[in-house]
């Protein structure tokens, strides 16, 4: 059976994906350190600034994360056909059908794969939208924790979270959400790549997917 190459992901989406993914890794590691520092610099005056460095990396990665999130929101509105928001949500009969089809496929009840879409299936698309919404809250809580004395962040931070400590609590819980999401995401991507040899994994590097010639 012959395959044909089809362009699915724009360069900006691929950049967003890797900036988002790598910043999450950096943020989780440094975030855990900031939450519960596992080292103890016993020697005084030893040129060791562990916490300072961890926080610095955390903040830089936080800005990368914010930029990636904004890029994805931009693409939800101005991206290509497969990247835009309506394609991700069960709002059309075609998408609703795909949603249930995906559920059946993931539970090994059905085998056939919808061939009318190059982008995400609707279950994945919805999850990604939810993750971006979580990222918005993560960013707001993060900036509120970083700049509690700056007017705008103080106003919105107090309005949404009430206090620094509550913002910190939400910030920590959302980190777990991102970690659990990343785990399931990796598994399902590999699972789909094995089930349907479309080149799903390489598509996030090259932007190209493969479909059967009809």
């Amino acid at each position: 059976m012959a395959y044909e190459k089809k362009k699915a992901w724009s360069i900006l989406l691929r950049l967003y994906h890797w900036a988002f993914a790598l910043s999450i890794v950096a943020l989780c590691i440094t975030g855990f350190y900031i939450h519960d520092p596992w080292t103890n610099t016993v020697a005084e005056g030893s040129q060791s600034f562990v916490m300072t460095w961890m926080r610095f990396i955390h903040f830089v990665a936080g800005y990368v994360f914010t930029g990636a999130m904004l890029a994805r929101i931009f693409l939800y509105i101005f991206g290509n056909k497969w990247e835009r928001l309506p394609e991700q949500l069960p709002v059309t009969p075609r998408n609703i059908k795909n949603f249930f089809n995906t559920l059946l496929r993931y539970s090994y009840i059905k085998d056939d794969h919808d061939t009318d879409r190059l982008g995400h299936n609707v279950l994945a698309g919805m999850t990604y939208v939810a993750i971006i919404v979580a990222a918005v809250f993560q960013t707001i809580s993060g900036f509120y924790l970083l700049f509690p004395e700056i007017g705008t962040w103080e106003v919105y931070g107090v309005m949404i979270f009430g206090s620094q400590q509550y913002a910190r609590y939400i910030h920590h819980l959302l980190m777990w959400l991102f970690m659990i999401f990343a785990f399931i995401h990796l598994y399902l991507v590999i699972w789909n790549d094995i089930k349907e040899p479309e080149g799903l994994v390489s598509a996030i590097f090259t932007g190209v997917k493969f479909q059967h010639k009809t």
Binding site: E44, M51, Y166, K195
Partner: protein
Amino acid sequence: MADTANKTLDPRLNRRGFLKGCTMAAAALGLSETVVPKMVEAATSGQRPPVIWMHFQECTGCSETLLRGAHPDLANLILDIISLDYHETVMAAAGYQAEEALHDSMKKNRGKYIMVVEGSIPTKEDGIYCKVAGKTALDSLNEVAAGAAAIIAIGACATFGGVQAASPNPTGAVGVDKLITDKPIVNIAGCPPNPVNFLGTVLHFMTFNRFPALDQLKRPKFGYGRRIHDHCERRAHFDEGRFVEQFGDEFHQAGYCLYKVGCKGPETFANCPTARFNEMGVWPVSIGHGCIGCTEPAFWDTMTPFYERIPDVNIPGTGIIEDADRLGTQILGVTAAAVGIHAAVGIGKRLIKGKSGSDES
């Protein structure tokens, strides 16, 4: 000219002590020294603003901290600068006389007096949980607040509800600003608050006839505008990664950062590290105990456990109360198990059906 020779004030208060008090208050407010004479003048003008001090659900710790104030002359200053017409625990009058003093002052100074509220106000069951002189706290508050020029809520209870408002809040306790919305209110947060912050606010009000700049939570910025962590003497240990692992260990004896034993300095706003307490230059962190975040809203709910960084996760309806990281690890473990089962089912199906699982193979 200001009465710095002290002709009208309490004779026990000497000029030096009085000026010292005013200067300290000006410094706490971040005002320049040129304002000190103005403040002295306001404090000695003889027009002592009448103050009515109401106690509701509280422990009187805020009055205690004020009476044993940091500055030796502070108690005198407070009693001389303001005309404290009604204060249940300090006033000599009792019973009928006390009530009369309250009503007289309210009538005479209507629209001019400052109302100080200490303690939270219960709202459930029409507020029957707190009654003084046969009236509920809710009624007293509304009655006295109606004629007040301004309201100062002092302490964690009057500002954000305090321990009474901690979950599940059986009496429906709330702070003053949840009930009174048509008067200028300032929150002097803390359990107890630093007397300097109360004194500074009163003197600011007397000098400029308005409250100092407030933050989002109505706390005066001079006292609550900056983070404890950023002005902590142990901050260098934090930055360099030197932490107390448990109370009493060698790192604790060496005076390292209390972050890992739950100090809430990084999320608490107050001037404790700079103003300090009791004229001895002490505050909780300086004597080896972490900050418990008492100046922040709902601190009994969000700052506990006091020796952990963040609250435990409470999943409603299940009775599960668990440390966030332990719960996260458990969920991640369950997810991994689910993934393993899912993958095994796929492999099993493929083995049973032969190699026809996918249209490709």
